[in-house]
Symmetry: none
DNA sequence: TTTCGACTACCGGGAAACCGGTAGAGACCG
DNA sequence: CGGTCTCTACCGGTTTCCCGGTAGTCGAAA
């Protein structure tokens, strides 16, 4: 029985290329692709899945929320985080969400193959620079999870939408809550993170990988 | 004689995956990989190259400058731009630099194969959304090269400070101009770039490298 | 010389952000 | 059970953003 893999990344080109890379490995079978966290959940609900290669920065539901919700209902699925950055908070959040692997896109393709094999065997794989990041976090505070200000899932969702340029009212519509509630989350975010305006929140969201660097304003016609 | 291809992207994972994708096409041979524009130039100087798949956003020399300098000395090499975004300015700058193809990472992997075949035959290939972008630019002004929303030095300064989270008044103090003047620059920026709030301006500044992704707020997280 | 772009500066108004408070429901824990 | 946390929601008020004008100066280009 080959390993049933789902690739989640907002870039179709990257998914297709990864699929070609993994196709060369015997025992690997990419059974589906997803462009957002929601699609991952839908796929897992519809067909058996063994492992997900999950990009963190995706429009809509990001990889961390997707991991948390996926593992809540499908705890047997292995999740390997795949990101352009190796930010500490980012790694910690993902591991805390239950992921069992983390690789950056700066790593070699072989790293991913190695990670998949490792996770398939039930163990955890971190690429070298990520391992160093986690180690430094442990050294700094003695505990992984006592780290910096942890955001709730709701706060992460709100932060992502703020960084995408939505107003509180638009965010409220999107999340089906009142704009005033969004404002509360916004204030709590700023207090927790010691940030004081949308620009800083946006930068934070991008560095943490909560928000993709860009996703809406492309095809459009400026001027 | 197979087509000698160079892959230029700062993510090793993406290069390796693309290499696997292209390896399935007969007549394609990836002869080298580069992580920056400088490496592309070095490779082209050292060995024969037919075609370069060039990512736009790379550390050090970016894809646009690399294309310009590469074609200055090796005009026979075909360059296909490969970017996460279909920003009008990127596309136009790259085409003006002499590239003969442009594809976004949101496109299917097949698009790249198709583009390579087209460029090999000496023609130009643009993926659909990019073509639409260029068409709209042409419709707007009848000229391709007058399209790029070029920012003035002052606008760049203001944009950077907005992205750092300063208010108009703080920016005015920093630049020794009135807050009302900063507002004018802010409005002109938003009009030129078709952006409508601080979050989008911040994201733009980061993707353009006008504002660094991180500075200060990561290492020593508060609380 | 006239025209144009860049930079400067102000007015006015509506929308949104920002900052403080209160408060109830539900979950979880010692 | 009491305490704590999260999420929900609203109140008020100030600041800033966002959008629309107008307009003067300066230097460069036509």
């Amino acid at each position: 029985m080959s390993l049933r893999i789902v690739l989640a990344d907002d870039h179709q080109m990257f998914r297709h290329a990864l699929r070609a890379l993994l196709a060369r490995e015997p025992g690997f079978e990419v059974v589906a692709e997803a462009a957002s966290g929601d699609e991952v959940l839908a796929i897992a609900a519809a067909q058996p899945v063994d492992l997900v290669c999950m990009d963190i920065a995706m429009p809509g539901m990001n990889g961390i929320d997707a991991t948390r919700r996926l593992l809540a209902t499908h705890p047997h699925i292995g999740v390997i985080g795949l990101s352009a950055f190796a930010d500490r908070q980012f790694v910690i959040d993902l591991l805390e969400a239950g992921a069992r692997g983390y690789i950056t896109k700066a790593d070699a393709g072989d790293e991913l193959v190695r990670a998949i094999h490792t996770v398939r065997e039930g163990r955890t794989y971190l690429c070298p620079d990520v391992a160093a990041t986690v180690a430094s976090a442990l050294l700094d505070r003695g505990s992984l999870y006592a780290a910096a200000p942890r955001l709730t899932e709701r706060e992460r969702q709100v932060l992502q939408l703020i960084a995408e340029g939505l107003t509180s009212m638009q965010i409220g519509d999107r999340l089906h809550i009142a704009a005033s509630t969004v404002d509360v989350h916004r204030r709590n975010l700023m207090r927790k993170l010691d940030l004081h305006n949308v620009a800083e929140l946006t930068r934070y969201a991008i560095t943490q990988g909560i928000s993709p660097t860009r996703q809406g304003l492309d095809g459009g016609l400026p001027n």
